[in-house]
Symmetry: C2
Subunit: 331 residues, 2 copies
């Protein structure tokens, strides 16, 4: 295992210490390191809290700040955070307007966030994201997996929360964005969880895992490596075939081209061009694009495409100011 690490036990703690030290103007570490919260609390709004296993950085701690989350709870690598962490985060950042949990659809995460909602003494609601069209049910999931589309949900709901939205309206908005959003991923290599010390899975030199999950869960099929154009076409077909029947897809979409950690920028932008061309061919314009490693699987080489069908109202929320470690725009 080749990693910059001192020990498996201190890996997450030391990384979080670095993250909060470097971004001290944006975030601080919650009590006992159980969560990351905004450096400047905002109690007069609904508090947005997300979290999940570590190893997907910058998701979620990188999205804590004005315009997105109020707190994020990091579990150990690829392991759900505990209900205690989530409840502590809710107590720390929740105010009278309530707490909205944004939860990727994995069984462990859902169960623990449900327990946290019971532990927390205040109004809560939960948005569950399940944007991955690759497979129904998976290693750690009943139903579809929640993947990179979660960033779009967190950004748009975060903007609406900043504008004073009620808990009920934000829950409805989050569910709506999730319904409008579809993703699919492909892996060229595996990743190695520090506590395991060996790769999660293995792929031949000429193979890729089409439809891979963000923990290396199996996808739809293991196939021969194909051209970037063919890969983008297959993924975009799967995404749009699933999105079109909802009736949500108009002429514009947000395109997120997400690297899993080990794929360089040149390749991500090349895939963005292939995805953009595929969308154009089908009459959909990329109204906004985001390209980078935002929902990762440690050092896995691979990419996911996410298409989110938007209207002017959703685009305006997407464009609203955001000031976090990983996304930063507007005043």
């Amino acid at each position: 295992m080749k990693k910059f690490i001192n020990s498996v036990d201190s890996f997450l703690t030391e990384s979080l210490a670095g993250f909060t030290a470097i971004h001290g103007d944006v975030v601080k570490l919650g009590d006992g390191g159980a969560f990351v919260r905004r450096a400047t609390p905002a109690r007069d709004k609904v508090a947005l809290i997300s979290g999940g296993g570590s190893g997907h950085e910058p998701l979620h701690a990188g999205f804590v700040g004005v315009g997105m989350l109020d707190a994020a709870c990091p579990g150990q690598v690829f392991t759900s955070p505990t209900p205690d962490q989530m409840a502590a985060a809710a107590s720390a950042v929740g105010g009278p307007k309530g707490v909205l949990f944004i939860v990727k659809n994995y069984s462990g995460d859902r169960m623990n966030f449900e327990m946290a909602a019971e532990l927390y003494d205040g109004p809560t609601a939960t948005v569950v994201t399940d944007d991955d069209v690759a497979v129904e049910n998976s290693t750690w999931t009943t139903g579809r997996r929640g993947v990179a589309g979660t960033v779009i949900v967190e950004k748009i709901v975060g903007a609406a929360a900043e504008q004073g939205g009620s808990l009920e309206s934000l829950k409805a908005l989050g569910d709506e964005v999730n319904r409008r959003t579809r993703s699919m991923g492909v892996a060229l290599t595996s990743c190695t969880v520090p506590a395991a010390g060996t790769p999660t899975f293995t792929l031949g030199e000429d193979e890729m895992e089409m439809g891979v999950g963000i923990h290396g869960e199996p996808g739809r099929k293991r196939v021969k490596l194909a051209s970037a154009k063919a890969i983008a076409e297959e993924m975009m077909t799967a995404i749009l075939d699933d999105l079109k029947p909802t009736g949500a897809l108009g002429e514009e979409a947000i395109l997120l081209v997400n690297g899993f950690g080990g794929t360089p920028s040149l390749e991500l932008y090349l895939m963005a061009e292939m995805a953009r061309a595929e969308l154009a061919r089908r009459g959909v314009k990329v109204a906004r694009g985001l390209v980078g490693s935002y929902v990762t699987s440690l050092e896995m080489a691979g990419v996911s495409l996410t298409v989110s069908a938007v209207d002017d109202r959703l685009l305006s929320l997407w464009d609203a100011p955001v000031h976090t470690a990983a996304l930063n725009w507007g005043r």
Copy 2:
């Protein structure tokens, strides 16, 4: 070779097409794709132009925009751009106040930028960066290599250019920041240049290349993998031993922890914490930190540390607004 690619010949062109399409509000492609320039030209200031081989993204095209570069010339992967590209960029973005070239110290880049300055019919000056303390002379360099410190030079000089600095003063400022800045890198894996199709070098499962260059050039030594703390200590010792004799290092520094492409965020922030602690132990406070993959070597796993000794004037230029694809802050 596992990459998202259609053909070696179209690799760069397709990636640049994606980059300029996604960031059309910030950049556009220059004539014939020879360079990337600001979407909105600024002719009443000194024009800053950089460039070099591709494969180091976001350097340099990701730093084109308000507050940093006016144009960037991408060569093929790890290959210098041509004098024609640079001269075309200068003609496109240069105004009466002149053109400042910012050039990493590689023999090919320096020669070509010199020829471009001769081809261009207007006032020019050149800042050469050579911040890498690892080795003197290298595969493609006489003297020291210019590496991640170039980002700090481009940011600070870019801010001063925006404030109306003269060509002469910006040249002096760039040279000063370069003198105050030192870097060193380490690789855990190699990278594969698409046109070569095989890894640039090989490392054993328990080896690392200490002092590696950003094209995989040999460093100081090939040694057994060590703890993150030991790696940070060795690199910081080399950096500070070199920086201290200049007399520039006071109580504050900018720390850049740069990933080479294949190292995930969790490990970069862990290294940031180790580097921060090392600096603190030696009485230097991290006034500002930047952690991410900014000067990459395709998908190489590895990290470089950069320390730039700053004063209040330089910090204020660092904090000035910047709006590029890869760095974005301030109004």
